[in-house]
């Protein structure tokens, strides 16, 4: 693929959709044709209509357009990236527009966010020799392996010895440390979009070998700066992502302890108020209405009747794992068989039953194979039929 200023013509069209600003084009109805000549060029047709965008490969013919832009590939990429002056390109005839020129000038800046070149992991690794800082590498004798998977990835070994740095396009067996990750993760790390510690602790980066070397190797190189990135640098803003893991300690007391023991045996225990006779699920030590201690337990369930259904579409993180939950999920409120009418109890619903579940339906618990006496012993409830 022919590249100009590190960018292919295709990249510009392929990223149009993600750069499109629909709110800026609500009253627009135009079709713009592009005839890009030279290597990597082609014909494209871009239709912007009332806040929607369609990008088509025009396959040789650009017809029925409000305006058609003719340019060679290098000029087109250069002007898009801001490397070449647009006015000059017009006056020298390198860009010619057939049809309504004002359409391009007035609409394009409103319709698209500026194009930013895609940074490839390989470009970052291949610049490692230029970015090497010999003065920081006194006495350093290491081999850093990179095993980057996915688009733009590859395998490399960076050898630092005698204050020189050499890059090999192969993964040596005797590396001091090998870092394995998706190519995009590597790019994000180098762009400062992802913190190294977070990437490592969340398992996005796997390190084989001396982990200390992995941490300290960054100081041997200048930061990677994408071509042209420095000129358009704006105000630096700081945002931090982290996933702190908080230790939790929960003392059950005798009553909830009884409840969790029950789950282990596939049983539900309710406490029963000696005064009003109501049953409480999960069990509690005190009946809050009568203010007396409940010392009696009764087995209830395991089937239940649904009273209320909450279908949740918000993709919240599961606090037990930090992972974003699958949506939709359902919080099901139900009354276990044998429990007083107003004592509902909540748990998950089997996702396959979401479309069918209705208040009043009978549901039954589905238990985990291995039960440890925790809430996880109950996988979810499902419709009993």
């Amino acid at each position: 693929m022919a590249e100009y200023f590190g960018t292919a013509v295709e990249d510009i069209f392929n990223t149009m959709e993600e750069r499109f600003l629909s709110e800026g084009t609500l009253d627009v109805d135009v079709t713009i044709g592009y005839n890009i000549s030279g290597e990597g060029g082609g014909n494209w047709k871009v239709t912007i209509k009332e806040g929607t965008l369609k990008v088509e490969d025009a396959d040789g013919e650009v017809t029925d357009c409000t305006a058609v832009l003719n340019a060679n590939a290098e000029t087109f990429v250069g002007v898009t990236l801001g490397k070449l002056d647009a006015g000059e390109a017009f006056s020298s005839g390198n860009i010619k527009v057939d049809g309504d020129l004002t359409v391009l000038v007035a609409i394009l800046p409103k319709a698209f966010k500026p194009f930013k070149p895609v940074i490839k992991a390989s470009a970052i690794v291949e610049s490692v020799e230029e970015r090497f800082l010999p003065e920081k590498a006194e006495g350093v004798d290491i081999k850093i392996g990179y095993d980057l998977s996915g688009d733009g990835g590859g395998q490399w070994t960076v050898v630092v010895k005698d204050q020189t740095c050499t890059l090999k396009e192969v993964l040596d067996d005797d590396c001091t440390v090998i870092m394995r990750m998706e190519a995009q993760v590597f790019v994000d790390l180098n762009q400062g979009k992802l913190d190294g510690g977070t990437a490592f602790s969340s398992g996005q980066v796997k390190v084989d070998g001396d982990i200390g070397v992995a941490g300290q190797s960054a100081s041997l190189f200048e930061k990677y700066v994408a071509e042209g990135a420095a000129e358009e640098e704006g105000e630096e803003l700081i945002s931090l992502k982290c996933v702190p893991s908080i230790n939790q300690r929960y003392a059950t007391g005798p009553t909830m302890g009884k409840w969790f023991d029950g789950l282990k045996e596939k049983k539900f225990f309710a406490s029963k108020c000696p005064q009003c006779g109501r049953t409480l699920v999960p069990p509690r030590e005190i009946c809050a209405q009568c203010r007396v201690r409940c010392n009696e337990f009764v087995e209830v369930g395991p089937d239940a009747t649904v009273t209320l259904i909450d279908v949740v579409y918000y993709a919240s993180p599961d606090p037990l794992t930090g992972k974003i939950r699958e949506t939709p999920y359902t919080a099901l409120f139900m009354v276990l068989d044998g429990v007083s009418r107003d004592e509902s109890f909540a748990h998950d619903l089997n996702p396959k039953d979401i479309d069918r579940i209705k208040p009043g339906m009978k549901v039954r618990p589905v238990w985990a194979e291995k039960r440890m006496g925790t809430y996880r012993d109950l996988l979810y409830f499902e419709i009993a039929d």
Binding site: P244, Q248, G257, P319, L320
Partner: protein
């Protein structure tokens, strides 16, 4: 089935971990404050001319008169006084130091508001309010307030 309150056979302790994905944006003013700590080892605040008050860390609006302060930067001293303190006596992995360590409110010279930070280089028994301290900056950045590593007695 009856159990008595004294019966502890069902009592147990469950332990676990809770993961809390966080995304913190320092904001425009917060970013500039941290960047000044990181790159220039300077403590910046904002000044409300109307109330003659200097706030640190910076905030966008004056809490008294609601004037916008986002352009009213002032550079403050790296020295200040302890206005209050506590000794942290428990360990947890999210805490910045091993216990015991001193967490103090420090009002740097030129500021009207104190902010909390760690004080090192002195025993917990010897800390006093009114004590002069100076900032010690971190060698490695974390892009947080901890780019100012701690304060120590002058």
């Amino acid at each position: 089935m009856q159990i008595s309150y004294e019966d502890r056979k069902d009592c147990k302790v469950m332990t676990g971990k809770m993961a809390l994905p966080n995304h913190y944006f320092a904001g425009r003013l917060g970013s500039k404050f941290i960047i000044a700590l990181r790159d220039e080892n300077k403590i910046l605040g904002v000044k409300c001319e109307k109330c003659d008050k200097v706030f640190v860390p910076p905030r966008e609006y004056c809490e008294r008169c609601m004037s916008k302060l986002d352009e009213c930067w002032v550079e403050l001293s790296n020295e200040g006084v302890i206005t209050n303190y506590t000794v942290v006596n428990y360990n947890d992995k999210h805490l910045p130091r091993r216990a015991p360590y001193i967490l103090a409110l420090i009002k740097v010279d030129g500021a009207d508001t104190p902010f909390p930070h760690i004080v090192e280089g002195i025993d917990a028994e010897d800390v006093k309010t009114g004590m002069k301290v100076k900032a010690v900056f971190a060698e490695e950045t974390t892009n947080t307030i901890r780019d100012l590593d701690h304060f120590e007695p002058v």
